[in-house]
């Protein structure tokens, strides 16, 4: 009940916002803020009251929905999903605050779409029915398309349709795979979309779902769907466009949550439901056995080098996202407890850090109205607080020990090293390049001579600081005490590695 309430409060908020008069903009913003704060409170309650000692799903609700196809409204949370739900719920009000002043037209529609988006994201992380999972996954598409297309930058139309086409292409492949899983789950009348049941069936020897050949191609269907979202090379080209054109708050959501939907899907569906499939791509013979790790490696190195080449601040952050998501893929490919823990931690950390980075880019853009890195210089004198927070975010992102980014990346690499020595060693190039582009940016924007054009640039204001502080605190806390998050999902990870591990033992 608590969980359902959390998912649908933003939807209710959307209806309320739609009923408010268009002119009362302040009221609309406040109402939206309220309707994003409620899920945050509920998410915190869920996070605290979640029983960390078991891997089982908690707070689950299962109500029949479309009985003809045995589709249920089945939701619940485990340690992994509750962590990401907390991240989503936290970014909600932050994004509303970040949109407070810089959305100039149609604030009502903007806020309504944002609330719809939040329902989609929260529902996605809680869904335990494959069909519901897919519906929530797709529910984020339309609001995102409009949010980029209406309120975005100069090339917003191109970016919006590209985002839409790529994601829809991925999800239709997922849909075929999903229908195949459903049809193979039993005889007519006993078929199911229930994720926990399907996981059990897929592990039952002799069941149609457990057939390795079947699992491999279904794995691929889901994988491409999620890979577009993550994004994994070569499906990544929509991301820089979408990020650059999207308004600040939407970039934050895109990097902070939407990309995580891809990796979450990989963990929840691909790894848990298709152990034979993941085995083929991480443990199989020859090229295929290294393919997933290879993709992680490409993401890391390619993303980092692309970021190094950027002169647009926002594009740089966007490409750095591609690089950092590579660590998640690499950690998942390791399939051992260390690697998967690192990957999940990296998902959360990247959500927090990239959200900070995009907020910071937005702060600068709102003042200078451009993002050209070489156009700044010496801002450190003009905006000391802003410089301080940016440095914190940069350090966290480049993986400075003591800040959260380090822990996730280190664990991912550590886990991956056990299996893919060469690729892991090569992947560390990404960390070096990461340090290079962040430090270089720091130098170009904040150090040196102050560009006379920006002598009167106002310092970051209270509202903006308010959006950054919770995220900054989280990066420090998780850097020093990562166990705070790890203990949430360690049981789930153990269970997941068991599902994949039993298979390994039987080989």
């Amino acid at each position: 009940m608590l969980l359902s309430l959390m998912i649908f409060v933003p939807l209710l908020g959307m209806i309320v916002v739609l009923l408010l008069p268009r002119e009362s903009e302040e009221l609309i913003k406040r109402v939206t803020l309220l309707f994003t704060l409620i899920p945050l409170v509920l998410a915190v309650v869920l996070f605290i009251s979640y029983d960390r000692s078991t891997a089982g799903t908690q707070y689950f609700v299962s109500v029949p929905w479309i009985e003809t196809f045995n589709i249920n409204y089945h939701i619940g949370i485990d340690g992994l999903s509750v962590t990401l739900i907390l991240l989503t719920a936290l970014l909600g009000p932050i994004c509303v605050l970040a949109s407070w002043r810089n959305i100039e037209k149609g604030i009502k529609a903007y806020m309504a779409l944002f609330l719809l988006l939040e329902t989609g994201m929260l529902g996605f992380f809680a869904a335990l029915d494959l069909f519901l999972f897919f519906v929530f996954f797709e529910l984020t598409l339309l609001p995102m398309y409009f949010l980029i297309g209406v309120w975005g930058g100069p090339r917003r139309e191109y970016a919006a349709i590209k985002f839409f086409l790529y994601t829809l292409f991925g999800s239709v492949l997922m849909l075929v795979a999903m229908i195949a899983v459903y049809l193979n789950s039993g005889v007519p009348g006993e078929r199911t979309f229930d994720i926990p049941t399907l996981i059990t069936l897929a592990g039952t020897e002799g069941h149609a779902l457990a057939d390795p050949g079947f699992q491999i191609w279904v794995f691929l269907g889901f994988f491409i769907g999620f890979a577009v979202k993550v994004p994994i090379f070569p499906f990544h080209t929509w991301l820089p466009d979408a990020h650059v054109e999207a308004p600040t708050a939407i970039s934050v959501i895109l990097a902070g949550v939407l990309l995580k939907m891809g990796t979450y899907g990989l963990v929840r569906i691909n790894m848990a439901m298709f152990p034979e499939g993941i085995d083929f791509f991480t443990n199989g013979v020859g090229f295929w056995g290294n393919s997933l790790a290879l993709l992680g490696f490409i993401n890391i190195v390619y993303g980092s080098f692309c970021a190094l080449a950027q002169t647009d601040f926002k594009k740089l952050v966007a490409y750095s996202s591609i690089g950092h998501m590579g660590f998640v893929i690499l950690g998942l490919a390791a399939r051992n407890e260390t690697g998967v823990t690192g990957a999940i931690l990296q998902m959360f950390n990247h959500g927090v850090i990239s959200a900070m980075l995009f907020l910071l880019v937005g702060v600068l853009y709102d003042r200078a109205h451009h993002r050209e890195i070489n156009g700044f210089g010496g801002l450190g004198n003009r905006m000391p607080i802003y410089t301080g927070i940016t440095t914190l975010a940069f350090m966290a992102s480049l993986g400075l020990p003591g800040l959260s980014g380090f822990v996730g990346e280190a664990l991912s690499l550590l886990g991956a090293f056990a299996k893919f020595q060469v690729l892991t060693i090569l992947s560390t190039i990404g960390i070096v390049v990461g340090a290079a582009y962040f430090l270089w940016t720091l130098q170009r924007v904040f150090l040196g001579q102050l560009n006379p054009k920006y002598e009167d640039l106002p310092e970051i204001n209270g509202r903006e600081i308010l959006t950054l502080v919770p995220l900054g605190v989280l990066t420090i806390v998780l850097g020093i005490w990562p166990h705070f998050a790890i203990e949430m999902f360690s049981e789930s990870v153990t269970k997941l590695t068991e599902i994949m591990g039993t298979l390994q033992a039987s080989l």
């Binding site: 029949p64 929905w65 479309i66 009985e67 003809t68 196809f69 149609g106 529609a109 897919f134 519906v135 797709e138 529910l139 598409l141 339309l142 398309y145 409009f146 297309g149 209406v150 917003r156 139309e157 919006a160 349709i161 839409f164 086409l165 829809l168 292409f169 239709v172 492949l173 849909l175 075929v176 229908i179 195949a180 459903y182 049809l183 007519p188």
Partner: protein
């Protein structure tokens, strides 16, 4: 098989009789009222449709336990399937009349005949949904075609409309002639016009060697020309973009929904009853033939829609594509598992209901914008989100549903279809269909883009009456809800062919 004789049949034929009576009454009333009061004629037609609806419900409930009746010595059949299509077609006609009332492109002086013709075409479509005899099939098809030709050319002052009617009649004449030849071949092979009897005879004559599979294939191909023309499937689709573009918008909406639905009713009944025996189906590999036609129809429809700037023409191509999706369900008729055949039919039924609401809704918006902005071109939709936010919102919902995005009904419609197709082991076809959905996103999104991302030079907002919004919500609400409620899925299973 027991048949009802003519007099007994009349009671079960009451919906059709009501339609004919009202069509005549409409013509008479048209002579009595003055030109400016042509709305009265429309209302009388609506009353006629209402009475027909009551008659349908009464006859359906009087069917009792045996659930179907063969009327007029087996010429037509009244069963759940026919009842479903009659209700759907009747509602489509009602919607068309309501659109026409609001459309400003129609000549008020001619509206009397117009409504009478609409009732007549509905009558023909009722017969299409229930014919079980080759002769009756042809007559019903011709009734619908002839009236449709006139309706398509109803904008007498517009050369485009006349062109539409001319093209329609030329293609139609060829298609129905070809079909008639196919029907005569079947009659020659089996010696009967009754579909059920054909279903029994064909395997026998095939086994005895009196006919060859090639002969059946030729006959089927010829018949498919006629049916394919009605549902606008490739390669018999060429008429539809021109006709849809030239015809009055309400008629375009009517043709794209009702004419297509009636065509599918005929198609399903013909192949289900006449070729229900899967041996014959498989001997001529009908499944593969239909699958290729289906894949080509949706692909060509979607690709041709991509460059369109005229929204009406764009929706015409989109409706060809949707015909292709629907045909995927028809492919399953060739499956050897009766359970899967049934799933295919109920998927088509479900999709038709969804398509009815989303497509008619989209066409209604086209009517509204044509009235207000005076344009059918995509440019006329620029800045609609600020000029008429509610209408733009409704259009966005229809388009999102046509693309097939959750939570809109179109997604669930596709879901049901694709699940059935994959269950029939036609993975490649499902794949083609899904890739087509992605392609279709591009052109539907162009309208979304114009409405939301671009701004108009003229920013004056449109004003619409309350009635407009009421009618719009009749289409919006089901487009939002149908997929979410289990009852529609179970209903669609109830009305399949037995």
């Amino acid at each position: 098989m027991d048949y009802l004789e003519n007099i007994e049949s009349l009671a079960y034929f009451s919906p059709e009789i009501v339609l004919v009576v009202f069509a005549a009454a409409v013509i008479i009333l048209d002579l009595l009222v003055k030109n400016r009061e042509s709305e009265k004629v429309a209302y009388l037609s609506l009353v006629g449709l209402g009475c027909a609806l009551v008659a349908i419900i009464v006859t359906h409930s009087s069917l009792g336990t045996d659930e179907s009746k063969n009327l007029f010595w087996g010429m037509i059949r009244l069963d759940g399937f026919a009842v479903f299509f009659k209700v759907l077609l009747l509602l489509a006609t009602a919607a068309t009349i309501l659109f026409s009332l609001r459309s400003e492109e129609l000549d008020a002086r001619l509206k009397g005949e117009y409504y009478a013709l609409l009732l007549a075409v509905t009558f023909g479509m009722f017969l299409m949904a229930s014919s079980t005899n080759l002769l009756m099939i042809f007559i019903s098809l011709e009734t619908v075609s002839l009236t449709s030709y006139i309706l398509a050319g109803f904008l007498t002052h517009s050369p485009r409309s006349s062109e539409a009617a001319f093209k329609y009649i030329t293609y139609g004449a060829v298609a129905s002639g070809t079909m008639l030849f196919g029907l005569s071949l079947i009659y020659g092979m089996t010696g009967t016009g009754d579909l059920a009897a054909i279903g029994q005879q064909l395997p026998i004559v095939l086994a005895e060697g009196q006919v060859t599979t090639l002969g059946i294939l030729i006959a089927i191909t010829f018949i498919l020309a006629g049916i394919g023309y009605k549902i606008a499937s490739v390669p018999f689709h060429m008429w539809s973009p021109d006709v849809y573009e030239g015809a009055p918008i309400p008629i375009t909406a009517f043709l794209s929904v009702a004419s297509k639905a009636a065509g599918f009713a005929l198609f399903l009944r013909f192949f289900f009853s006449g070729f229900g025996n899967s041996e014959v189906m498989q001997s001529i590999d009908l499944g593969l033939l239909l699958a290729i036609v289906s894949a080509l129809t949706m692909t060509i429809g979607n690709l041709a829609a991509l460059p369109q700037r005229n929204v009406k023409r764009l929706l015409a191509y989109s409706s060809i594509a949707h015909g292709g999706y629907l045909l995927m369900g028809g492919v399953l008729l060739a499956n050897s598992d009766p359970d899967i055949v049934n799933k295919g039919i109920s998927a088509i039924i479900f999709y038709l209901v969804v398509y009815f609401f989303m497509n008619l809704g989209a066409f209604y918006v086209v009517v509204l914008i044509a009235n207000e902005a005076g344009s059918e071109m995509i440019e006329g939709y620029r800045g609609l989100s600020s000029r008429a936010p509610l209408v733009a919102g409704a259009m966005a919902i229809f388009l999102a549903s046509l693309i097939g995005i959750p939570i809109f009904a179109g997604f669930f419609g596709k879901w049901v279809l694709f699940t059935a197709v994959i269950e029939g082991n036609l993975y490649w076809l499902a794949f083609v269909g899904l890739l087509n959905s992605v392609v279709s996103l591009y052109y539907y999104a162009r309208i979304l883009k114009a409405m939301y991302f671009e701004s108009a030079e003229d920013t004056e907002s449109f004003s619409f009456s309350k009635g407009t919004f009421a009618l719009l919500s009749v289409f919006v609400v089901p487009t939002l809800l149908i997929g979410l409620l289990n009852i529609f899925y179970s209903l669609s299973e109830k009305f399949t062919l037995q």
